[in-house]
């Protein structure tokens, strides 16, 4: 019998809508026992109170009904090695160190079957996987079979009565699932979200209020100097190791860097150790060749493709470029055919390595596999702001020549390159974000403190 979640009417098995109130019974939660009337979860096959079958059909037959005497041997399952499977309970019981003496007293001998009491656990011990549990070497300590005394039995009956009383589900779900910390109300969340949206469109109205004060940090100037020191015709390796998820943060940075390199006629060879990174490399470099038409594929830049194999892949790249890539990605020509890759044999032929990454393990991998073997090639890590704090130690130790967090880095780089673009205007939005979070922290605590005081 299916219990209607709205009016608690008990409908016959298989009903689609409630006979009494017409509510849909799809996704119902309670099934009433046809024998004793107790409420059971919708998935249950047997009644929890009387163990009657809830759905009168070919219900699964229990294949292995173990005897009651075997129950204590479960206890030893976690300690006994698998070969002791066939041994008798007496031998294994000796190994029990703690509770067994109590257990032996409680458990009845096979010739004295337990008094049949309507306890909620009754019958379940037969459902326990005894044989399988004994066969397993390190299973958890299984549920102990416990026969209730008189008071416990009365408590259990009371509990059963309360538990099976038809309470509206919505209330019950709230009691069960209440999170410890109170969630924001839907209205509160909406206000918060709209506030974030407003902050994000600030630069469209503020007109780059803070843009004129931007002062590039040390690493931005170091990076620019390093790029500007490259001779014409030198080749730089660019790794686009970020996911499209972070394209919004990393693409502007990558575009700035490639533009700077293109203006100085430095050649770019790009690759990615993430499959989707290649698509981004293509997107950024296409955009670049739209902006700098003289900078052409094959002549000035090339995309090698996706480098699989993580550590092993980088190791191959380190020893030989030709082993890592047989042909380029876009034109499928061998590396010797393309002017830009013709003279490149190993990593030592690159002047610098610039890594765009959204994941600290990727950066660590480059440091371990590439930088530590080629300490003379500068490795610049331009990463998402999210992971930048994790990489500061590598910058400290000099393994990274520069470390730039994407968001403030790109803005400061634009400013340092003397460009007044829209990107520099977004600095206003970050300022607004800071003040809003400050405001949110204050509001959050005012509301929190006032609510705790009310509770007291």
């Amino acid at each position: 019998m299916i219990v209607c979640p709205v009016c608690q009417h008990r409908n016959p098995e298989g009903a689609k809508t409630c006979e009494a109130c017409g509510a849909s019974l799809e996704g119902f939660f309670y099934r009433a026992c046809p024998v004793c009337g107790a409420l059971n979860p919708a998935e249950a096959v047997f009644c929890r109170r009387c163990l009657a079958e809830l759905i009168p059909s070919e219900a699964p037959e229990e294949p292995l009904p173990p005897t009651e005497a075997e129950a204590p041997s479960e206890e030893t399952a976690s300690t006994a090695p698998p070969t002791e499977k066939e041994e008798t309970p007496e031998t294994t019981e000796e190994e029990i160190t703690e509770e067994p003496s109590v257990e032996e007293e409680i458990l009845p001998k096979p010739e004295h079957p337990p008094v049949p009491v309507p306890n909620p656990l009754e019958g379940l011990e037969e459902l326990l996987p005894l044989e399988a549990a004994v066969a397993l070497p390190h299973r958890a300590e299984p549920r102990q079979v416990h026969f209730p005394d008189e008071t416990e039995r009365r408590d259990a009956e009371l509990f059963q009565q309360i538990a099976t009383e038809p309470a509206p589900l919505r209330e019950q779900a709230r009691v069960l699932g209440t999170p410890r910390t109170r969630a924001l109300s839907p209205i509160g969340r909406l206000i918060l979200y709209i506030l974030v949206l407003l902050i994000a469109i600030v630069p469209y109205f503020s007109g780059g209020f803070t843009a004129s004060w931007i002062t590039p940090r040390e690493d931005v100037t170091t990076l620019l100097q390093s790029l500007n020191s490259l001779p014409q015709g030198a080749t730089v390796l660019l790794a686009f190791d970020y996911d499209p998820a972070y394209a919004g943060e990393m693409n502007p940075l990558a575009l700035d860097i490639t533009r700077q390199l293109a203006q100085r006629s430095v050649h770019i060879v790009a690759l990615s150790t993430q499959p989707a990174g290649i698509g981004l490399a293509e997107q950024v470099l296409r955009q670049l060749s739209d902006q700098v038409p003289a900078y052409r594929y094959g002549q000035s830049y090339a995309i090698l493709g996706y480098l699989p194999g993580q550590e092993a892949g980088l190791r191959t790249l380190n020893s030989s470029l030709g082993d890592a890539f047989k042909e380029d990605y876009l034109q499928r020509r061998s590396l010797g055919e393309l002017p830009v890759t013709r003279g490149l044999a190993t990593l030592a032929d690159f002047e610098q390595i610039i890594l765009f990454a959204d994941d600290e393990t990727t950066v660590r991998r480059w440091i371990e596999q590439i930088q530590s073997r080629n300490p003379e090639i500068p490795l610049h890590a331009l990463v998402t702001a999210r992971i930048a704090p994790m990489l500061v130690p590598y910058r400290q130790s000099g393994q990274l020549s520069t470390l730039l967090p994407g968001t403030p880095g790109a803005i400061e780089l634009e400013a340092a390159m003397g460009r007044r673009s829209f990107l520099t205007w977004t600095s206003d939005a970050y300022t607004a974000l800071f003040f809003s979070l400050l405001f949110i922290a204050v509001i959050s605590n005012v509301l929190y403190l006032s609510s705790t005081r009310r509770v007291r």
Binding site: I201, G248, E249, T384, P389, W425
Partner: protein
């Protein structure tokens, strides 16, 4: 059919594909962003499309980047690339997970996966994290090693904080609970102080990481709005450039 589709797309006047694309991308962006106003059918559609496209894209990459190149190598030279054949056979065994009666056959390739993964994780944690981090944690606390006068002292204090912080954070994860005896009481008293300090250090790091993450996610939002307002409706097209 796909070829005709590709032909049709190529035959369209230049820019049509990108115009359609911009509109599609903009509408999808709006659909996803609409989630902030609550659940709605547009978001659900975007959600289902995303799951479908991501799965299809990954499937295609698995074929073009992983399976097919290796299958080609194996077919061309089975003797040199015998191990590819072996792993392809194991892969087929893995597929038996889909059939209930044969399901245990999948345990063998899973054994390869778990074993290799455990070995990689163990080796990586040992040589990549544990040993170098212990080496790096050993620092000099003597001001003379860092420079003259106040600068030396400042660096020595930094080194001291670094040392204490590392040890405190490490002991914050100690699992053993309090036992009996005077020694255990003393030891756990000391541990509790260190653990408190360790939690404080962890919170400093989490604060910095939370701030960094906020910046990153906000940059993603900025770029989507820039796409909508400048690339799509070209409302603010000439601003700031």
């Amino acid at each position: 059919m796909l070829e005709t589709l590709a032909n049709v797309m190529n035959a369209l006047p230049a820019g049509t594909a990108s115009t359609i694309g911009t509109w599609v991308a903009a509408l999808l962006t709006l659909a996803v962003l609409s989630f902030i106003f609550g659940e709605n059918p547009a978001f659900r559609l975007a959600e289902y499309l995303f799951v479908g496209i991501a799965a299809g894209y990954a499937g295609a990459l698995a074929w073009t980047q992983v399976l097919w190149p290796r299958a080609k190598l194996f077919l061309a030279n089975p003797q040199a690339y015998w191990y590819y054949g072996l792993f392809f056979a194991l892969g087929l065994l893995l597929l038996t997970r889909g059939v209930r009666s044969l399901s245990t056959l999948g345990n063998l390739p899973l054994g390869v996966l778990f074993g290799t993964g455990a070995g990689l994780a163990l080796g990586g944690a040992l040589t990549g994290s544990l040993v170098p981090q212990i080496e790096a944690s050993v620092v000099s606390l003597s001001p003379a090693d860092y420079g003259q006068g106040l600068v030396g002292w400042a660096y020595a204090i930094d080194a001291f904080i670094l040392l204490i912080g590392t040890i405190a954070v490490l002991s914050a994860f100690h699992f053993t609970g309090k036992g009996q005896g005077a020694w255990s009481g003393f030891w756990h008293g000391l541990l509790r102080i260190l653990q408190g300090a360790g939690r404080g250090f962890i919170m400093v790091a989490f604060g910095a990481l939370l701030a960094g993450a906020t910046l990153s996610f906000f940059a993603a939002l900025q770029s989507r709005l820039a796409f909508l307002l400048r690339d799509w409706i070209k409302l603010f097209g000439n601003m700031g450039l």
